[in-house]
């Protein structure tokens, strides 16, 4: 059976193509303005990467923010269920998942791929990928370099605001005080890690007897990874491509 999972996210659209649960292809493209167009592009991307014909595809499932509007998909599942399925497939023994995406954070408690409990951040960009993006801009650095500064900082600055807009002005004010760039960056990272760790602790992930995985675009950021491990005092497993676990889970749905 050949299946495709599409994760229609606010910043990126991901697709994974599986044959009998074996991953043949994946893609990650910017969503840009049109969610539907992006999903179609991602879909044909994975097909053309493999030698599969469109007609051979058994099922298409969608997940993610725009999942309800993906005409290609026969049904959609929530991001929580998708991440639980996808991540547990990669790490069958995990008990918890932390996902930091472009627009939201999720923490999920799982057992054999089944969701036991979860939390998502409220309607606010605090501690999400967007927060990083905006504050990196206020620091005048590329978001990809932000994480590396974590390791250079000896004394992370204290960032008190959780609101993306206010944090941006807080960064500027720290800059005017002559605080080192790496210390401000580390302060931002620490504040995100702290916020996510609190969510994880709320559903008791820190006490789950088993490994925890870290997924989503932000998991590629080495600094956040290290800071988060420090905050919840455990090592976090990161898949080779942490951005596609949702799409993978959608492709695995009902198999």
């Amino acid at each position: 059976m050949i299946t495709v999972g599409i994760d229609s996210g606010s910043s990126t659209t991901k697709a994974v193509l599986l044959e009998d649960s074996k991953q043949l292809a994946y893609t990650i493209i910017p969503t840009e303005f049109d969610f539907v167009k992006a999903s179609e592009k991602a879909y044909f991307d994975v097909i053309s990467q493999s030698d599969v014909q469109e007609g051979d595809i058994g099922h298409v499932y969608s997940t993610g923010y725009g999942r309800k509007n993906i005409g290609l998909a026969e049904r959609s599942i929530s991001e929580i269920t998708a991440h639980a399925l996808g991540t547990s497939y990669l790490f069958p023994e995990i008990k918890g998942i932390i996902d930091i995406g472009g627009q939201d954070n999720k923490v999920i408690s799982v057992e054999h791929g089944k969701v036991l409990d979860f939390l998502m951040n409220d309607k606010c960009a605090a501690g999400t990928g967007k927060f990083l993006e905006y504050t990196a801009r206020a620091l005048n650095i590329d978001i990809n370099d932000l994480g590396d500064l974590w390791f250079m900082s000896k004394e992370p600055a204290l960032i008190t605001s959780m609101c993306t807009v206010f944090a941006e002005s807080e960064v500027i004010s720290l800059r005017t005080q002559g605080i080192l760039k790496e210390d401000i960056a580390a302060g931002l990272i620490k504040s995100i890690a702290n916020k996510v760790a609190i969510m994880a602790k709320k559903i008791n992930l820190h006490n789950s007897h088993g490994p925890i995985a870290f997924v989503g675009g932000v998991a590629k950021n080495r600094g956040i990874h290290a800071a988060l491990e420090q905050e919840i005092s455990t090592t976090l497993l990161i898949p080779p491509e942490p951005q596609i676990t949702g799409a993978l889970g959608a492709a695995l749905y009902e198999s």
Binding site: E79, I80, T81, V115, K123
Partner: protein, 385 residues
């Protein structure tokens, strides 16, 4: 499910009631506004007055209230005041009854409402009853009884009618009749699958303190008769059964229940003031007992989050979840409602012990978070099915 005839009937009820209230007032009958199920309407009726609930469920009237109130308080409070200060708020649907009350009987419950009442008194004479916050002592009962006695005197004064024990007992019986009918309606929902949607039940129960008892009884009988014979398709059997617990869902507010049912769940019970809290316990009808005492005993026991400690509520949430055989509980709170919000922690703890999953959501009356709520609710329904 096909649309119930009762729901058709309900659509025309608003206008009818507004006309009725207008007519009553023209004939010199006093109409009293209330906000809370701690105010015994038996007393109001026994004084020959009528009453109507003034809890706001509409987003549109909130900006009107923000002239008087801070922005960061519960939307129910803002919506209510907004509807009143604008006297029937013309142009806004189902708002006319807010302009038809002669007096308000309020209650000291949460901080937000308490302080709002002080402002409200500038617009409509407002009488406030006090509540002991720790309800399970003898002194508390004595105190509450005294408060109700004072209310009785106030009502007699205001209406010019004496409240006799006989009249009061009659009204107690009538209110109990309604409570029993509501039990019957809720009992139907214990069937699996439930023969009626949660949104329909909510739309009915939101009218409990708006309509006259006679009309409300009529509606309850109509809906019970209608659904008794419904045999829902077996396929709806797979729908996860959900209980809502938390803040009231005031008239006009069906946002979250709608999301839950549109996304495939079915609500079979509400632990709420627009739900079980409003009817679960009956008032003692013992004729050899002072009906004022019977009233006090029943009302002081309402498990609202403004009581502390509030063990009764924790127990009742778990009991109801089990009795209605739910797959999960959606804990519903309004933004800035600290009582219900904070109590979520202990409710979650108790439900966990009983092995019942719970999802907490916090929202307001705006539409801005419908998609975000939908994502969580989808995930929760997938988790419990």
């Amino acid at each position: 499910m096909p649309e119930l005839k009762t729901m058709e009937y309900l659509k025309k009820i608003y206008k009818k009631r507004v006309n009725e209230l207008q007519e009553l007032r023209n004939n010199g009958v006093k109409v009293i506004g209330t906000f809370c199920i701690f105010v015994p309407d038996e007393l109001i009726f026994a004084a020959g007055a009528d009453r109507t609930i003034l809890c706001g469920g509409k987003n549109e009237t909130i900006p009107l209230a923000e002239q008087y109130l801070p922005r960061n308080i519960c939307p129910l409070i803002k919506s209510s005041l907004g509807s009143i200060v604008n006297d029937g708020c013309s142009g806004i649907d189902s708002c006319a009854h807010f302009g038809l009350v002669d007096m308000i009987i309020a209650e000291n419950t949460c901080d937000g409402k308490k302080k709002m009442y002080e402002i409200l008194d500038d617009f409509i004479p407002t009488y406030v009853i006090d509540l002991p916050q720790r309800p399970d002592t003898d002194i508390a009962l004595q105190y509450f009884l005294q408060e109700l006695e004072s209310l009785k005197t106030e009502l007699e004064h205001f209406t010019g009618n004496e409240i006799t024990s006989t009249k009061l007992l009659d009204r107690i019986k009538e209110s109990n009749e309604i409570r029993k009918l509501l039990h019957q309606l809720y009992c139907e929902r214990k069937r699996d699958p439930s023969p009626i949607s949660g949104v329909d039940v909510l739309k009915i129960i939101q009218k409990q303190f708006f309509l006259s008892p006679t009309e409300f009884k009529h509606i309850l009988k109509m809906v019970i008769e209608e659904i008794e014979h419904i045999q829902p398709e077996q396929e709806s059997n797979t729908k996860p059964r959900v209980m809502i617990a938390g803040c009231p869902l005031s008239g006009g507010n069906t946002k979250v229940p709608k999301i839950i049912e549109e996304r495939g769940g079915v609500i079979v019970c509400e632990e709420s003031c627009t739900g079980t809290r409003s009817f679960w316990d009956l008032v003692d009808e013992d004729e050899n007992k002072d009906p004022m005492l019977s009233l006090s005993q029943r009302y002081i026991n309402i498990p609202c989050s403004c009581m502390s400690p509030n063990k009764k509520r924790l127990e009742s949430v778990v009991d109801l979840a089990q009795e209605f055989n739910v797959d999960g509980v959606i804990y519903y709170t309004l933004q800035f409602c600290h009582g219900y919000n904070i109590e979520a922690y202990n409710v979650q703890k108790e439900l966990k012990k009983a092995g019942i999953p719970m999802l907490s959501i916090e929202t307001d009356y705006s539409d801005s978070d419908i998609e975000q709520l939908g994502v969580r609710i989808d995930a929760f329904l997938e988790m419990i099915s």
